[in-house]
Symmetry: D2
Subunit: 294 residues, 4 copies
């Protein structure tokens, strides 16, 4: 299929490469042009603007940083909508919040385009392996048309419902992940206060019903106390705020998320650039983990 | 080894049977005598009091309901301490809170006995398979002496530290499990409010970094909305309160646990006897999950 | 002094009237023209646009609903900045959030204007009496120049600091007021659950150290269970969200505000148009206040 | 009336003196005998045990530290119940928690005694002036019989309901007071973070709807940062825990109280002996109040 691909960052580049390998015809564009060369070498056409990347395509895929960037590449100077054929689709795969997703889809709809929001779960290496977890919002027909395209990038492609549902599911996923991380930190700090080393606690936790994805993947960080970012602390907090914004819009109370957001907020000055698991340090700082005095 | 075993409930009975099968010589006692017969049939001596069960043993194991029952079988009429030889050990395997554990161990120590607190993680079927997750508190020497005894009942035997550490670890484990369950419920309710069915959400969650033991084991309950108890709602709340009591004693703040305890508290009138996963219904009741209105 | 006044709602109209009575020369404008007549009758000049109201003035006062409306009357078609003389001041007296206040002041500064943010505390009748509580942000010199103008509308004029400080103080005030209201509701619901009627509780509370402005002013609502709006529930929640936004910007954790915001959020579907004191009903609904069972 | 009075601490001594001045015949007892002399000098009979103080009285009043002390003077060696005539009353005026109050009243009832729980609000100087705020639980008839006795010590005597209602009302009062104090601290810390000095904030707060008893009485502490105890930090936290215990018993959720209790808990290591208003320092420590960076 003839596709445009905009945004060749750490996630976007391997995703585009997998589309090429699956036999799709790809026109690519990136703000910083030097990231384009490797893809061009692999057979992609080097577009000179978002509009150019989108021209003559059935769908153009966006993998850019945030809602502002999406707005710019779509509606800015030489933006996608100046090249994309009528009736074609925009597939937005970045995480930009549910409210912005719905608003952008509405504008695109008024211009005669279709939209899928298709944010992804998984790290760079998962992207390279084509095994992303992709949550898709959009109408049934559009989803079915582009499912094979998504399947070139992901292992698990889930149609969540109408436009916006993919973005919402992503926020819910990150809410649960971030809150589980804070819960784990609260428990471990209590244990440390009670004189039980973190590594012993994690061994028991991972063996039983208190286990979790974050306990598995962040054990190393928690034991070593070093927080090389896999998913940035400030990004996790941003997603918690997006989830609270969604709860505000839907008038659904989120008491745990609210408290958890403030615990991350407490850590922003020290840990914004660390991995999200550095929330454990917020607790350690409060408690200065001391042995039990009997 | 010559052992006493007191408390032959749903968990205690299979644990005692595994001890017999491992070749230990067992005297058993239970408040309700009819639960004793099957064990007697399997080779256990039928004791006529806790004191009798404890007499001539190297260690007597307790698997009774709560701190009051432990107190009664140890120090009550014909209690364990009236039969247990000097220097022998009491191994308490029920979950009775960290503060009571420490107090009882102190009293036993003054009477010349040793103590291990060794609460377990796992269901009845796990107990029958001898694959419990056992968290042990006590001094190194006592732990090493009785580790082979515990190994007859559990797959994973973890020495957490001094007396009381096993009980504390159990509370931390259940704090994390219960809070993860509430976090999951909060996320799913938001998703339902946004029009995404629970089963679709769980599929995505289980495939990624928001996965957890409770998401795996309680998916069925959450989708069907029926809450046959695996671990009772009221027991989970009791353990959250015990964890808060430990945080009070150690002066460690537990903000998430505090909020979570009140969400379970809100559900007590309706769901005390249900499975802990019924906390999802507290959220559903608040929200009356309605579709998004665009 | 020659002044413009834009926004003649329930608060703006009596404020403008007090300025006239203090001898100021006033040009007024309101979106809906019929609210202008009474002021014109009292001596104000009827402007035909915000720009017209602002022309030839030393300062133009805004008392409009929200940040969007402020933006529109300042920078929209025939907006204030098309009439206001260079070096004159904009005095914004509505509550529009701290972040928007700072942004607007920056833009006005770049255009060569001065700004005071001067939100008010007090009801319509307090405004009519000229006894508002006015919190002012802006540089010292500008504050001093316009303090006599503000003194025509308020009894207590407090200079809080640089531009934005008035808006911030207003949010802090409403955070405390709204949270005190929720705290009171939580306490009263516990008392009702314990069988003590609300009116008896309030009598004791008002006589002692648990007294508060909200307990005094909302006792009637709480006893009667009717919530004629003095300050709307949805407005209180909006201000709590603004306060959380400020906490986010400053990276200051606000755990109580976060939890309180979700309790109001829980009540939005039923009570958005009621008085903020209807937060008491959120608790009543949770508890269905039942007598103590001994 | 012939009365016993047990517990002549900072509060009890002036209360007993007021009873003497009102013409009652008083037998007094205190654990530490030297506190008895001034009362004996004022006309009280010096009893040599709680039983002796209670003998031949219509009611014996207790003003001792906690539930354990109440238990000891009532039921311990030469306790009240060994002297108090059948049908006479015990009036407990200390704050000992709602659950203990109900349990003790039940025991006294079974022994043929009547009970009033009558905890007080107010400081030492208020006690000396006979102007305490007294919250009374007990049956109507008993209340009416002893209201004149209470009126010698208090200005406001409120009958809250059945036995235990006085104790419950006291906890609700202290819950609201303590939570209002934490809310105020949270708001002030946000304001400090935004660059507004605490004294300016308090001026505005006290003039408007965010005012409260704690804002009035603790302004001095908050501005000076010195926390001479009027009501101890650790006592406030104890009462918050008692309120949560009551909420647990009644199955009423108390989310704000739960969060607030953990904020005080965070301050226990530093501020246990300070005034409760030192909760402001917990926030200051988190934030290290820094000026806004524009």
């Amino acid at each position: 299929m003839k596709l445009g691909f905009i945004g060749l960052g750490a996630m976007g580049a391997p995703m585009a490469r997998n589309l090429l390998e699956a036999g799709h015809e790809l026109a690519v564009w990136n703000r910083s042009p030097k990231r384009v060369d490797p893809l061009a070498g692999a057979g992609a056409r080097q577009a000179d603007s978002p509009a150019d990347a989108a021209s003559h395509t059935r769908a153009t895929i966006l993998m850019v940083t945030n809602a502002e960037a999406v707005h710019e590449v779509l509606f800015g100077d030489k933006g996608v909508v100046q090249g994309l054929p009528a009736g074609a689709a925009v597939i937005n795969m970045g995480t930009i919040g549910a409210v912005a997703t719905t608003r952008i889809a509405k504008t695109l709809g008024e211009l005669g385009y279709r939209t899928l929001d298709a944010p992804v779960g998984g790290s760079t290496s998962v992207a390279a392996a084509g095994e992303l977890n992709i949550m898709v919002g959009g109408d049934e027909e559009t989803f079915e048309e582009f499912e094979p395209v998504l399947a070139a990038m992901g292992e698990k492609i889930s149609h969540m419902g109408e436009v916006g549902s993919g973005a919402r599911m992503k926020l819910i996923n990150n809410l649960i992940m971030g809150a589980n991380m804070a819960v784990l930190s609260e428990g471990l700090a209590l244990g440390e206060g009670a004189g039980i080393p973190v590594e012993k606690q994690l061994e028991v936790i991972l063996a039983g019903s208190a286990a979790s994805g974050v306990a598995q993947r962040r054990s190393g960080n928690l034991i070593s106390g070093s927080y090389e970012p896999q998913f940035k602390f400030s990004h996790e907090l941003k997603d918690l705020y997006y989830a609270l914004e969604l709860g505000r819009e839907l008038e659904d109370p989120l008491p745990i998320t609210a408290v958890v957001s403030q615990i991350y907020n407490e850590g922003m000055r020290e840990h914004a650039e660390d991995d999200m698991s550095a929330v454990a340090e917020v607790y350690r700082q409060r408690v200065n983990a001391r042995p039990v005095q009997d």
